[in-house]
Symmetry: C2
């Protein structure tokens, strides 16, 4: 058992490591050569240029900072990061980032008073007993501060009970306040936003196929009939998965070409490469010529595919982005059901153009529900049975397995150092690789489910990851068994016993989790600010690929918050804090340090580094709220289980009321605040519409929306070819309700103007 | 243990009783005097008149049927009931009734093939074993037909496993088909419906209070601004709970007056009554004079209250019925969120005028969530702890308790017959009274929850009642313990053990449930057709109160389906059928007889008797579907539990897939069909709008909607006074966005016209 001394040593060690990282960061960030690693956000904003062009006096100063004074206050970035006011930060980095930072602030707001109260009330209460000494059990000083030190049946547990209530009410109070603030921020953000294409646009999916009309005609007719005075235009969605692949491949080839050309310039000797697998096998060819011809080939293929996509009606997916004359029209279309069959003409608010996940736009409804079932089952198995494949890999990755598979390695492996390395390290490595890959695997699963925006993909993945962390890290560490063994326990224990079994184990695991917080929380966060991966990648690219300033721009990788793996990890700290607040308050200060440090670090990163790929307007907050509530309920149930073994029977009904009240509180908040994150109130959009109409009477909305929702691969010079519908509401259009048997050619994209004319004529004919 | 012979005797007894009831019914319905008891629906439709006015030849024939031939085919009503085609029945009785009958038909569709298959495959399989004989356990012939007769670990269980799959798939298939048909019926019904006020109207609740404007002005301004081209008019809601009470009281007094006047006419001696409690205490007065003066007094009070309601702004509730120019406008307003605060301006589709539950219209949002919590907790206790108050009453209602409370009864009670009666009967009576009152208690709970329409109240109550029946009748009979004891079991057993414990007990309870089906199902249904209560009440009223033809009209009580207690009881049969289909197929024919008999009987009742109080368009079907799915999952889990004790370990994973698939199937159906019951597709309403606009160009919608949503107590001669808003969209109205400080008098109801003028003027002024 760890003593206070052990913990102190651990803490010191972690503090030293973290401080070392921070010092290293403070040093590296001052070097001009690293400017693009540590301040990419400013480059993207255009307010900072490469030190080269700034005209440095000394050549060396281009790469190394020689100004000694700047080294003196090496922690100056911390107050600087805290200085920027919230409104400016929203302007600078978007609402998503600011609300993401609020998660840490929420943590501080919840845990600072809880820590103070716990240390003022619970710690003295626990300390002034000698149960553990009289029982003569092995114990550490930490246990003397925890609930374990209170004798069986003591009335002192009432204090813990009251504190459980106080903590719950405080947490709920803060959660409600935060929900309120975030909802208000979101509404203000949406109201203050400039005109954006997604405000006028609705995504329509599962457009039914029709033998007489093309998708584009069908969409136009449908909305002209059912939203007559609001419909403006639409943009069909093309199946560009192959085209996007070609573009991507071309870019890679271009990278190789750049690399060899740079090599040629430096060495003045034409480099060669092999045509086979990864340039390792096959015949030698001149690298520059080879890649040039490859690029040309792909470019041709791309052009063919481009033409094919535009011509072939099969490449038009049954989905479209429909734009309306006003925000009101779009809000109405997004919130209502269109036809009596709820599986076709599904409308939803269009995500931001850069937020669209194009690959999933064409999945039909039935397939969606099947996919959800498959992923549900797959995730269940991943969560509870992930140990099985890893154990299998681990049995393969032992010494005998390798010797059998690759007998020529035998003498090498049999050396004692190597052998012990393989035996001690490889099994752990398999697990570690799996855990590193896990968020990516979960992201793939979410993509397979068919969500249509990056933001919703991240949210869904975050939920999955949290469930995984909860069972495999939190419960897995307490019950010490794989989730599979736990599942067995849960199935074979009564509903009463499960919280008891876990609850009893909780105080014993406090030291483990304190270490976890220090390693994962403190050192991990300090490592984040260093951006080791980006640092290495940038300098590699800079050396091998960069020729022009534009290349350097591309080599810089600002990254983004990556909600889907960072948010669930924060939630783990909420869970730990809430569970241990009553049981072992000593854990709380460690969590406080984490929240404070992470807040400063991420604030700095958001200001100087990250470049969000999309802006969802804090749509993830309801999930954050839900997970903290879950943590709260888990903490209540586990405390209930723990207390049920302490001889205070009266406590059980009093504690049972807590989860009921918490669930009710959650339902209340859900009703009260969640709609602000899901739906679009008509009053708000009407206000914005009216204001805008008054300000800019003759704004050409149609031109503004022209190619807003075109797939990015089309956004080249030919983009203007791609939309078909014209302003149909300028004069009253009579839409035929009966289909004609004569078929209008569905291929209008080649010659949008005349095709459209044909259509309009035929509309007027009848 | 019951043998086949016992069951046969029981069946014979029940068949005899049921047939006796049916014969009695066949006899009674032919007597003209009972015409209004057994054919009220036709009277209400106006196609049938009292035999008196039909001009009978013999005086006696007015009361008794003397035509002997009509007695001969006394079961002729059965084919007659089946003859009416569905479309005509919808016309005659509404969609709710027809879809209610579909529940029985669904039962037949599900269970006829299942019964045939079970008897063809499972019964021979079970029969050709001799496990029970070799084991020498006490058993009955029925057990020989059940799964209990198959030896431990036998491969024959595979047949049961396969059958579980087949039954599940068949049930799901039928459920999906039925959902499809009902959804289509509903849509066709809605499309074919004539113009109805609720098609144009939205109920708005939680209108925020405003210091400057009255509720009526606020509503008008809000919708003029946010739905400018669609808003037509609105109707504020008055707090009429007191007024309605007075009207009710006056009606009662009028009844008594009628009674005494009739008595006076017959006996020619002025009757007297006592003024005190229920006419039992107090001084003697002349009854006719007394009631006349009472009626006058209440009439005055009523007029005062009427005036007060109209004048006092406090009696206007923060709710209103807002009507739109088109169904499209109403559909949009009902499906969208109005403001950024989701707890105010709540819009929902207005229920039919006669479906509105007026008392709940003014409950604010926060109070609603609190009420829901309270009822949730209360229902939990009612469900699991209802035995406690009943046990308490039972201890009071024993001999000693009564002797203590009312000592003067002692000699009377101590007579052996009376004593044994009290001891044997009273405790059961307390329980019986509770069970009879239960649906009413549950209905009160639902009313307290704040639902605003009778149809939703019935649906909510049905859900509660089903849960109660499930735990206390179904599980209570199997585990044989009160729900409280069960709760204890569930909490202290592992999740694995609960289905096992219940599953093992299932085959043993087959005979009990067969008896239950016969008594409750067969005889109960036969009793329903007799309408004993309505029969007695009608003849009592007819004798004591009826003076005019109109009184006789009122004395007749057609009743209605009472979904909230009849539907959950049908669900119990689905549950029994699905649970026993694999285990003891012998139960199935009994359930088939119930479904067939009930179908005929209720069809007859719907054609000839019931008069539905409202028409919800089969909105209850998603609940019916959900409950059958629940029954299916329960049956799968219990079968899993049962089979886990039979030594066929391989079966468990195969059976575990079933509930997962069933839940997924339910989710699919929910997504696919439920929206048709909840939302209003724009395409449909647009089609109806367009058609109507083409047909009747100058229809005065406003006059049509004038007092559609006026509280029924106002629907007298003064009704026209009560609406305020006029057609505001005829000319473009400029709505002030800034509030005026000058207060317009909120009391416009007294003089609607000029008040309205004021308002419109003030609108135009700015």
């Amino acid at each position: 058992m760890a003593t206070i001394y052990d913990i102190a040593v651990g803490a010191a060690l972690n503090v030293v490591t973290a401080v070392a990282f921070l010092l290293l960061f403070a040093f590296l960030r001052l070097q001009p050569i690293n400017d693009r690693v540590y301040f990419p956000k400013w480059y993207l904003k255009g307010t900072r240029a490469s030190p080269a062009s700034a005209g440095a006096t000394v050549a060396a100063a281009k790469y190394i900072n020689l100004d000694m004074r700047s080294y003196l206050n090496f922690l100056s970035w911390m107050p600087a990061a805290l200085k920027m006011p919230d409104d400016e930060l929203i302007q600078h980095a978007g609402l998503d980032s600011v609300v993401y930072l609020r998660i840490y602030r929420t943590g501080l707001k919840i845990f600072v008073p809880i820590t103070i109260l716990a240390f003022a009330v619970l710690v003295p209460l626990n300390w002034t007993n000698d149960t553990l000494e009289t029982l003569k059990v092995v114990h550490s000083d930490i246990d003397k501060l925890s609930i374990s030190n209170i004798p069986y049946g003591s009335k002192r547990f009432i204090a813990h009970l009251v504190m459980a209530y106080v903590f719950t009410f405080w947490t709920c109070y803060i959660l409600m306040k935060e929900y309120q603030i975030v909802a208000k921020m979101r509404l203000r953000f949406l109201a203050s936003e400039k005109r954006r294409p997604d405000q006028f646009t609705v995504l329509v999916r599962n457009i039914p196929s029709d033998p007489d009309e093309s998708v584009s005609e069908l969409v136009e007719h449908f909305f002209l009939v059912n939203h007559p005075s609001h419909y403006l235009k639409h943009q069909v969605v093309y199946n560009t998965n192959k085209l996007a692949g070609l573009v991507e491949k071309k870019k890679q080839m271009q990278n190789w070409l750049d690399y060899y050309q740079l090599k040629f310039e430096r060495k003045a000797e034409r480099p060669t490469t092999k045509t086979g697998f990864f340039g390792c096998f096959g015949s030698d060819v001149d690298a520059i010529d080879y890649y040039k011809s490859e690029i040309e080939k792909i470019g041709k293929e791309e052009a063919d595919e481009h033409k094919k996509v535009m011509k072939d009606p099969k490449s038009i997916m049954p989905a479209a982005f429909v734009s309306f004359r006003s925000r009101w029209g779009a809000a109405v279309a997004a919130q209502t059901q269109q036809t009596s069959n709820p599986t076709v003409w599904l409308t939803e608010w269009a995500p931001e153009p850069r937020d669209v996940y194009w690959n999933n736009l064409s999945i039909p409804f039935v397939s969606l529900t099947v996919r959800r079932l498959i992923i549900g089952v797959a995730f269940f198995f991943l969560n509870f049975f992930y140990v099985i494949p890893i154990a299998f890999v681990q049995t393969l990755a032992n010494v005998e397995g390798i010797e059998k598979a690759l007998p020529f390695l035998e003498p090498f492996i049999e050396t004692p150092t190597i052998k012990s390395f393989i035996q001690g390290f490889l099994p752990g490595l398999a697990l570690k690789i799996f855990l590193i890959l896990l968020p990516t695997i979960l992201m793939f699963m979410s993509q397979f489910e068919g969500l249509v925006s990056h933001s919703s993909l991240e949210r869904r993945t975050a939920s999955k990851y949290f469930i995984f962390l909860f069972f495999n890290v939190f419960l897995g560490s307490i019950v010490t068994g794989s989730a599979l063994e736990q599942l067995n326990t849960y199935l074979h224990q009564s509903a009463n016993d499960i919280p008891r079994i876990i609850g009893v184990a909780i105080p014993m695991k406090a030291t483990f989790f304190i270490t976890y917080v220090m390693v994962d929380g403190w050192t991990g966060v300090a490592l984040e600010v260093l951006r080791l991966k980006a640092f290495i990648m940038f300098h590699l690219k800079n050396f091998f690929l960069v020729k022009t300033e534009k290349d350097r721009e591309e080599a810089m990788d600002p990254g983004s918050i990556c909600l889907y793996w960072s948010e669930p990890r924060i939630q783990l700290y909420f869970l730990l804090g809430l569970v241990y607040a009553v049981v072992t308050p000593l854990l709380l200060p460690f969590i406080l340090v984490f929240f404070a440090l992470a807040y400063v670090v991420y604030r700095h990163q958001i200001i100087n580094v990250y470049n969000q790929r999309y802006e969802s307007g804090a749509q993830f907050w309801p999930n954050v709220h839900l997970r903290i509530i879950t943590a709260l309920i888990v903490s209540q149930l586990l405390f209930l289980g723990l207390l049920s073994t302490k001889g205070l029977e009266e406590a059980t009904p009093a504690l049972l009321a807590l989860p009921v009240l918490t669930i009710w509180f959650h339902k209340y908040c859900k009703h009260r605040y969640e709609p602000a994150f899901v739906r679009n109130p008509l009053q708000e959009v009407m206000r914005k519409d009216t204001l805008e109409r008054a300000r800019e009477r003759n704004f050409d909305l149609k031109a503004y929306l022209a190619d807003a929702y075109l797939h990015p691969v089309f956004k080249s010079n030919e983009a203007d070819k791609f939309y078909v519908a014209d302003d149909p509401g300028a004069e009253p259009v009579i839409v035929p309700t009966k289909r004609q048997s004569r078929r209008i050619t569905p291929v209008q994209s080649e010659d949008g103007g005349s095709g459209r004319l044909n259509l309009m004529e035929s509309v007027h004919e009848r």
